[in-house]
Amino acid sequence: MVEEVRRGVGIVAVSAYVPEGRLDLLEAAERYGTNEEFIRSKTGYPRVARKTAGEETSDMAERAVREVLDGRPGLAQRLGLLIVVTQNPDGYGLPHVSAIVHGKLGLPDQVAAFDVSLGCSGWVYGLSVAKSFMEANGIEYGLLVTADPYSKVLDAEDRNTMLLFGDAAAATLLGRDDPRWSIGKFVFGTSGTQWQDLHVDEDRKLRMNGRGIFTFSAMRVPECLRQTLDANGLSIDEVDRLLLHQGSRYIVETIGERAKAPEKTVFSKNDIGNTVSSSIPLLLAQGVCDADRTVLAAGFGVGLSWAATVLRTTRPGMTGNLC
């Protein structure tokens, strides 16, 4: 038992669910006072994914989990943890989404299920929470699900947010039995005085101070990346890939340049959009890091908050899949 607990928890696999619906932002560019050049070179998202009106957060989470459990018979019975990272839960927010997902999937009673309220930094925070919880309680397998459909709170007239956010969910399977990725040390942070830069107002609409978010990201995240490298005894030269929250093309490329690793920085040219806490696991599910051995991952946003860690593998290869 002691030996079992000592074995570190890592990432076994990642799957993602992306709704089929799309909003074509190139068609809507004029309405939002912009143009194709700005969309392609700055926001980076010509189209964004949209869930259907009747699709709930738990539905998206359930689909992502089913995908990651597919082909792993019996694994659901060995789960001990289900975390859902969201700030847009089902209905009125009670009960927690993870309990609803647990019910929909028919998971066993021994599974601890709880939500984590974080935005774009949520997947990295969630990794630490899940890893610590599993190691402290001797849990063999756990699930970290991110499902935060911002379309629930977007103001259709607000170009600041409509040009960026898309809906998706991701499920990260964690375990101690021969994981694909080991998880390194973390760096976290919060700047609570800036919470108004990204918040939902009294009309239940998302409001974003684009300048505030950009300045925060450009100044804080490179510093956080340096701290994370130090904490893990690495230099940037030893990192194969910078896996940043996909806030926008411009933010990702700016941080990559400031971290002095633009060639290692991925921006996923997709038609899904900024999927909040799902953007980093989506990249893993898309196979962006399949050839890499050392990845520096960082999430940042709502709070304002940030978190980073290092993922390492000795066996490059397929990590996940997308449905």
């Binding site: 684009g210 300045t215 450009a218 411009y250």
Partner: protein, 78 residues
């Protein structure tokens, strides 16, 4: 003291182009579309980091020419 050369350098680094040298000091780079909203934010970030020029959100739209930036900085002893 913030100089015209400093402002032009920050603009050049932002848009990665030497065409800044041909702009007159009263050229409105925002109105002309030479800097989009994100370029503008990046330009102001450079002035903050390199010259300590902090600009509150309500003043951002005033700083759309080299002349306006120099006047704003001078009024604040920068």
């Amino acid at each position: 003291m913030l100089t015209e050369a400093d402002v032009r350098k920050a603009l050049k680094e932002t848009i990665k182009s030497d065409k800044v040298e041909s702009w007159s000091v009263d050229y409105n780079f925002r109105k002309a579309g030479a800097l989009d909203s994100l370029d503008h934010v990046t330009f102001l970030l450079r002035l903050n980091e390199n010259h300590g020029m902090q600009v509150p959100d309500h003043d951002v739209d005033k700083l759309t020419s080299i002349q306006a930036v120099l006047a704003y900085a001078a009024a604040r002893g920068l």
